[in-house]
Amino acid sequence: MLGLGVMVVVSQAIAHTGASGIVKERMDAMSMLGDHAKSVGDMLKGKTAFNKEAVEMAAFAFIKHGEQIPALFPDTEMSRTGSKTEALPAIWTEWDDFVALATRFTEDSRALAAIATELNAGEQSIDEKSRAVRTAFFRASKSCSGCHERFRLEQD
């Protein structure tokens, strides 16, 4: 728990140097999500032991972020063109689609949280738990790629 906290802080500190204001705020939020996604991903890859609490923490972070996404992308000059931003103008020209993706992400993350919460020790094998989390995590992650595909500038 503490280790994860430290990792989140460190990655926030080094990520996206040069950004400021709302751009930095949302980039930091994305980095934090990435750290949570990595922790779940590493479990599903078998790199780390299955950990129900970490899945729940990740899901809660996803839900919170999904709800905040529209507010993190206000239609302001700074938000559209701030230094280092990778946000594409399509966010604001196709705002309803953008918000719909954020909403889907929040809902799919709630489903992931519910599955993690239901995973009570002893009733299922680790493999079964892992499979259930895998399915729900994959579904939620489709919004990540789907949104980046249309609304994020891809850089090397």
């Binding site: 992650s141 790629s145 949104c147 994020r152 090397d156």
Partner: protein, 304 residues
């Protein structure tokens, strides 16, 4: 802007030269194509009638669906209409459903093989190499038979996709004979692929079409996967040589090909998101494992 202008004028010069040499190149290229097709037709003695279920997997590996289905605008499966921006203008993918007029429902399996291996339309004209036949040129006979069976089994959609919007005139197609002699592998030799992963990466999955540098003629002279700073839509495409992927494990690559997540927990966007969602996510885990294993192998080289 200036760079683009230079590219366009060089392309125009190249086209003029190509057209003047077309008679000679046409004959030479035709011989190469005939040789490739003859080797293909003689290959794979165990070849059997197409299996459409396996064919869907070939279509996924080859990215057919990502380029020929306008998912963003709710387009029907394989009905085309996807735009690909390039220094030569905008290419629009055609309808490849089983419809007999607007799709490819009236094709024979040999016509499909000629398209994939040789970049030839049934009417004998060349395809623009936005259609990645330099990679498909090594596709195995069984894969093409299976792919054919699956394509024929898809819903026929009667809907012609819009024309390409190119900066080069359509008659320049004739010059593609020269282009092919330069940038399509000369011999049909799928037997050289001992590893399935290498076959998938270099053949159907056509990774080099985006992950290797293109020259001013739009050719990929060196198919090493060392990245392309000016890829499709102007996006920068990363290097994926074994050297460039040194921080990725095979398991990281397998996971990436399944859901698009990097080892750091980021999710890919751009064209790669579609490549995964419409393609590699649907492959067998053995195929993803094979691709990842090849990408991490010494055969996939270093950065330089």
């Amino acid at each position: 802007m200036r760079a683009r202008w230079i590219i366009v004028s060089l392309a125009v010069c190249a086209v003029v030269i190509s057209v003047s040499a077309v008679a000679y190149a046409h004959a030479y290229n035709t011989r190469l194509e005939q040789a490739r097709f003859a080797l293909f037709a003689a290959s794979d003695a165990a070849y059997s009638a197409g299996d459409s279920e396996r064919g869907e997997s070939v279509a996924r590996a080859a990215g057919c669906i990502a380029c020929h289905t306008d998912t963003d605008n709710g387009g029907a499966l394989l009905a085309g209409g996807v735009e690909l921006d390039s220094p030569f203008g905008i290419f629009v993918s055609p309808n490849i459903t089983s419809d007999r007029t607007s799709g490819i429902g009236s094709w024979t399996v040999d016509m499909l093989a000629q398209a994939l291996l040789n970049g030839r339309r049934p009417d004998g004209a060349h395809y623009w190499p936005a259609f990645p036949y330099p990679a498909y040129a090594v596709m195995q006979r069984q894969d093409i038979a299976d792919l054919y069976a699956w394509l024929q089994s898809t819903d026929p959609i009667q809907e012609s996709s819009p024309e390409h919007e190119l900066r080069i005139p359509d008659f320049a197609r004739a010059g593609l004979g020269i282009w092919k002699t330069l940038y399509v592998p000369v011999d049909y030799q799928p037997d050289r692929f001992i590893e399935r992963g290498e076959y998938l990466v270099e053949g159907p999955a056509h990774c080099a079409e985006c992950h290797a540098k293109r020259n001013l003629l739009g050719g990929v002279p060196d198919r090493q996967l060392s990245g392309n700073s000016r890829g499709p839509e102007g996006a920068s495409v990363p290097a994926i040589t074994a050297d460039a992927l040194r921080d990725w494990g095979i398991d990281d690559l397998v996971f990436f090909l399944e859901i698009g997540m990097t080892p750091e927990g980021d999710f890919t966007g751009g064209h790669m998101a579609a490549v995964i969602e419409q393609g590699t996510a649907h492959l067998s885990s053995a195929d993803r494992q094979a691709m990842a294993t090849y990408l991490k192998s010494a055969a996939n080289g270093g950065d330089e």
